[in-house]
Structure formats: C-alpha cells, structure tokens
C-alpha cells in the first residue's frame, strides 16, 4: 500500500522534477521561462512522432531536441532581444499548443487516434528494487525517472562545482559584476535556457514514453507551470526542487488515493489540494528566501549604466 503510494508519488514527480531541475538552472541564470509548458508539449509530440518509427529511445532523443528547439525560440526573444520574459514565455507556450495540435492532426489524420507506441520499460536495479517500502519507488523505474534523479546531483555539480555554473550564477545574481569578471552574460543565460528546454522536452517525452504510451493534445495539462512553482518552492536549488517535486507528487498521489477511497467528499476538493498546499508551502517556507537577483529582469535591469 505505502510502497505503491510512494511509487506513484515518484512517477508523478519525475517529469515535474526533470522540468524543474532544468528551470532551476535557467532561473539561476536570471531567466524565468514560462515557455516550459510549451517545451514539454513539443517534447511529448516529438517523442510520439519519432518513437513510432524509431523506437522509444529515438523518441526520447527527439523529445529532447524538440524541447531544445522551443527553448531556443524563447531564448532568442527573451535573451537575444532582451524582451519581457513572462510575456515571451506565455507566447511560446501558446504557440506550442497550437503547433502540436496542428501537427498531431496532420500526422495522424484529423480524427487520429493516438498511436500506441513502444515504451521505455521499467529498469529494475538488481537487488535494490526489492527493498521494503522504497525499493519499488526508487529502483524499478523507467529510464526518465533515473534521468530525473540523476539530473539533481548533475545540476548541483554544474551549478556549484564548475566554472560555467559559477559564471551562470553570477550572471543571475548581478549581471554587471558578472560582465566585469568577463562572463558572457547572454551566452551563459542562453545555454542555461537551452539546457532547461532540453530537460523539459525529456519530461514531455517521458509522459509519452514512460507513462502512457501515446500522445494526446494538451496532455501536459499544466505540468510546465507546476514545475515553475516547484522551482520557487525548492528555493532555486536542485535538491530543493527534488524535495518540492516529491512533495507535489505525493500530494497528487494522495489526491487520487482520497478519490479512490470513495469518501463522501466532492472530488473537486481533492483536485484543488495539491495546488492549495503548494501555495501554503510557498507562504510558509519560501516567502522570505531571496530569488536570484536578476530573475526576470532581462536586459532592462542590467543594461542601464550605473547601479
């Protein structure tokens, strides 16, 4: 029972975690990308298109590339041209919803039933997966889940143990100082956003290839936005994002458990639960934590001379 619940929490959390870790990297560089939802959706469709012919692994690759491409559009406008990040991100998501819908119908016929695709099967870590309680949840999962968990230390290492990561954080905290230290601010931010897009694309691909084996329009259902909330709840730290994603995954899993228990409570209340508790957690735990100094400011804040 608890084993299954934990496994569900991890399953729900892992695409969110993938996207959120990428967004942590992006936001540490000072860029908030609301196009994340669009990148996920594009990743999901690309996975479905490629997996049909090339198998699940090809699908995963295509998902990453699609996420990257969507992020590149965002980066071009928000970083290249220094436009407002919130609005650029919203537009990118809007465009991705339209484009995936149109492409999906063109590719699979107007009344296209989602194709049934090859999937990434769970890979059991020998021995470990039989551990009581957490074995199933942590050690018998499909590839993207391991990728999500691996992304946490990887992002931590990149951010805090490489020159590039340090340059990125400097760009995100104080662009003028970073520039003075020779950091090519726009370039590192751009690369961070692309990395975030790549992970978001993988997250979308994992929905298709590791979770349901097919594509449906709007199947990401707001997960990209939730991932952004997770970044904030996780205090802009990969480990924090891990905790926040697991918390949200657990709340969502709990929501399904409550519904399945047949309690005589309107199910909509359970649907609200994860979001309301996330808000509460934001108010309680995070409110006073400082966001990266340049977050969302783009060129407006940094370009103008004396500060």
């Amino acid at each position: 029972m608890i084993t299954g619940f934990l496994a569900a929490a991890v399953r729900i959390a892992s695409p969110l975690l993938l996207a959120a870790v990428g967004e942590v990297v992006s936001q540490r560089g000072g860029t908030i990308n609301l196009g994340l939802e669009g990148a996920m959706l594009a990743g999901a469709l690309a996975a479905a298109l490629a997996a049909g012919g090339g198998g699940a692994e090809a699908g995963l690759l295509a998902a990453a590339v699609a996420g990257l491409a969507v992020a590149a559009i965002f980066a071009l406008v928000a970083i290249g041209a220094g436009a407002d990040q919130i609005i650029a991100g919203t537009a990118v998501t809007l465009g991705a919803v339209g484009l995936t819908g149109a492409v999906f119908r063109t590719a699979f016929g107007s009344a296209g039933t989602g194709p049934t695709l090859p999937m990434l099967e769970p890979l059991a870590v020998p021995g470990l997966w039989r551990m009581p309680l957490i074995g199933e949840a942590l050690f018998r999962q499909p590839l993207p889940t391991y990728l999500a968990f691996a992304a946490v230390p990887a992002a931590w290492w990149v951010l805090f143990r490489t020159r590039w990561g340090r340059a990125l954080r400097a760009a995100g905290e104080d662009a003028a100082s970073a520039r003075a230290a020779g950091v090519p601010v726009r370039r590192v931010r751009g690369v961070a956003v692309l990395a975030g897009g790549l992970l978001a694309g993988l997250a979308g691909g994992s929905l298709v290839l590791a979770q349901v084996g097919t594509f449906a329009e709007k199947m990401t259902a707001g997960r990209g936005f939730v991932a952004i909330a997770i970044v904030v709840l996780g205090r802009w730290h990969p480990v924090g994002a891990l905790a926040a994603a697991l918390l949200f995954g657990a709340l969502q899993a709990l929501q399904f458990v409550f519904q399945a228990m047949g309690l005589d409570v309107p199910y909509q209340l359970f649907l609200m639960l994860p979001y309301l508790l996330t808000l509460l957690a934001l108010a309680g735990a995070v409110g006073r934590v400082r966001a990266p100094g340049e977050l969302g400011r783009g060129e407006r804040g940094t370009g103008s001379g004396e500060r």
């Binding site: 919130i86 952004i228 808000l279 966001a291």
Partner: protein, 348 residues
C-alpha cells in the same frame, strides 16, 4: 494619450508587420500541410469581417472578454504587478455573477444587471486577494501564486456546477439559465451584447484614469519606478501594486459576469477557452495602452473568429491560430526590444 507624450505611430506599424509575419507563416505552414492557403485565409477574413453579422457576433463578441481582461492585466502591469491568474479570476467572477443573478433576478434589469457586475467584481477581487496578501505578507511572487490559483479555480467551477449551483434537475454540469432580468440586451440582429459597450467604457475610463488623474499618474509612477515613487512621490508603491492587482482581478471577474449574462446565460465549466492568457498578449500588443487594447482585442477576436471559419470552410484545425498569435507576440517583442536598445546609448 499617455500624458504629455505625443502619439507615436511606430507601435502601430510594428504591430501590423508582426501580424503580417504571423499570417505569412500561417500560409506557408498551411501550404506545407497540403491546404490551400488562399482559401483558408479567405475563409478567415470572411469569418472575421465578411459581414456585419460576423464582425459583431463573432469578432466583437470574442473581443469583449479579451478587451476587458486585457485592460485589467494592463492596469496591474502599469502598477507594477504581473497577473497571470486572470483565468481563475474570470471564473470566480462568473461564479459570483451567476449566484447574484439568481438572488437578484426578481429585481428589474436596470438594478439586477449592475448588481451582478458588482458581485463579479467582488468575486474576482476576492480571488486575487490571496496573491496580494501572500505577496505583501510573505513576499511570494504573484506570478506563481496567481498561476497556481488558476488550477484551483478550475476545480472550483467544476464543484459549483456539479454541486450547489447545478441546474435543478441535477443532471447537467451547468447552472440553470439565469433570469431574464439579469441578461444583457443585445444589439438587434446580432449576438453582440451590451458588454461590449462596457468594455469600451472601461477602456475610456482607464485611459482617463491613467492619463488625466493624479491617482493614475501615481499608479504609473509606482509601477515604472517604485523606489522613486516612494521617495519623491511619497506613495506606497507596494500598496499601489497591490491595489492594481486587486483591480485587475476584479476586472477579470467582471469579464466573467459579462460572459455569463451576455453569452452563455448559465455557468459552465468551459466558459473560457483561455481568455486569461490570450488577454496578456492583447494587452502587450497595445503596450498596455487602454485604447490600444480595444484595437488589439478586436484583432485577436478577429483571429479567433477567423480561425473558426477557417476550420468550417477549409478544414484547417482552429488551434492553428494560436501559432499566429504567438508569432505576432514574439515579433512585437523583437521589434520592441530593437526599438528600445537604440536610444540607450545616447545617455552616456
């Protein structure tokens, strides 16, 4: 209009070019997908402007909520707050308006209608009160909190139409039709309701407020440079941002009321196709200028009305129009950024 600065035609040109870019891209995409671009674009034009009926009942009807919500978003933006939660506030307003319509249906229309608006304004404001408080008390970014509340609002409206506000037979997930006294009058021969006039009046009022009044000037100052507004203008910029956010929520709520009392006559779960997000684009395209929002709202209304016709006549999926909208927004952002970066050198 914005106070003493002269009217600048450049934004108009960039918007037009951006639109052209979006349409060209659409045509190319359609051709690539095997559709006839000329037929599709022709259908689009007819669906949006082809007749008086299409213009009023398709284009202006859709433009109404976009304009109203866009005005609210712009007000918040100019006061220094980003309201990504208009979708949720729209539903909160729709719920409140529907509830009020049933309470007040016995009153004569001239009384009942404004009172439902009042209820909707309160509902929208209440919905955004949480983010306002979270921001003021706990420093939670309103971008995140308003966004999360959209999900909650979706569940809430579902709860309402299947619970306390469900139609009496208890079968369909919708409210009973609201009383006739609470319905808005229509422009004869069309489906366009008086809410469009409300949108126009609101735009005019907001233009006046921002450009002519001391309060509006202070709001703009607080949004443009909060520290300077506090130290020199002696206003509490955080408070202005909060008030602007509350007002924008209330206005999004009003849009919900107009939709219920002018179009659907009942509360439905799927009342909005994402007005709250499209309205952001509407407000941006007009650079937050109230009268410009009317124009860009009509443009987006026309695009979506045209998208319907495009699907009816040419079989092109209507979601394709989102791509056009996205291209328009991104192109305007690009053009804007370029325009901004040129004079910055002069200050050195």
């Amino acid at each position: 209009m914005s106070a003493p600065s002269t009217f600048d035609l450049r934004p108009l040109t960039t918007s037009a070019l951006a639109l052209a870019a979006g349409l060209v891209l659409l045509a190319a995409g359609l051709a690539a997908a095997g559709h006839d671009p000329a037929a599709a674009l022709g259908a689009m034009w007819r669906g949006a402007f082809g007749s008086w009926y299409a213009f009023t009942s398709a284009t202006l009807l859709r433009a109404t909520p976009l304009i109203v919500i866009g005005l609210g978003f712009a007000l918040a933006l100019r006061g220094g707050a980003l309201n990504i939660g208009a979708e949720g506030q729209f539903y909160a307003g729709a719920i409140a308006a529907t509830w009020a319509a049933f309470q007040l249906g016995a009153l004569p229309a001239p009384l009942a209608i404004p009172l439902t608006w009042l209820a909707a304004l309160a509902g929208g404001a209440l919905w955004v009160l949480v983010p306002v408080v979270l921001k003021r008390r706990f420093g939670v970014l309103e971008v995140i909190s308003t966004l999360l509340l959209n999900f909650v609002a979706e569940a809430l409206v579902s709860l309402m139409v299947q619970g306390p506000m469900q139609e009496p037979a208890g079968i369909y997930p919708q409210s009973a039709p609201i009383p006739a006294a609470a319905r808005l009058p229509l422009l004869p021969g069309t489906r366009l309701h008086a809410g469009f006039l409300v949108a126009l009046a609101l735009a005019a009022a907001m233009a006046f407020l921002l450009a002519r009044t001391v309060w509006g000037f202070r709001l703009r100052a607080a949004g443009a440079a909060p520290r300077a507004a506090e130290l020199i203008g002696r206003v509490d910029a955080g408070r202005f941002a909060g008030v602007a956010l509350l007002a924008s929520g209330a206005i999004a709520g009003l849009a919900g009321a107009l939709e219920v009392s002018g179009v659907s006559y009942a509360l439905y779960q799927n009342l909005s196709p994402g007005y709250g997000f499209t309205a952001i684009a509407v407000a941006l395209l007009a650079r937050g200028h109230p009268l410009g929002i009317v124009a860009s709202g009509i443009l987006f209304g026309a695009l979506e009305a045209g998208a319907g016709a495009m699907q009816r006549e040419a079989g092109v999926p209507s979601v394709t129009v989102y791509v056009v909208e996205a291209v328009v927004i991104l192109a305007v952002l690009l053009a804007d950024a370029r325009g901004r970066s040129t004079p910055a050198v002069a200050g050195a």
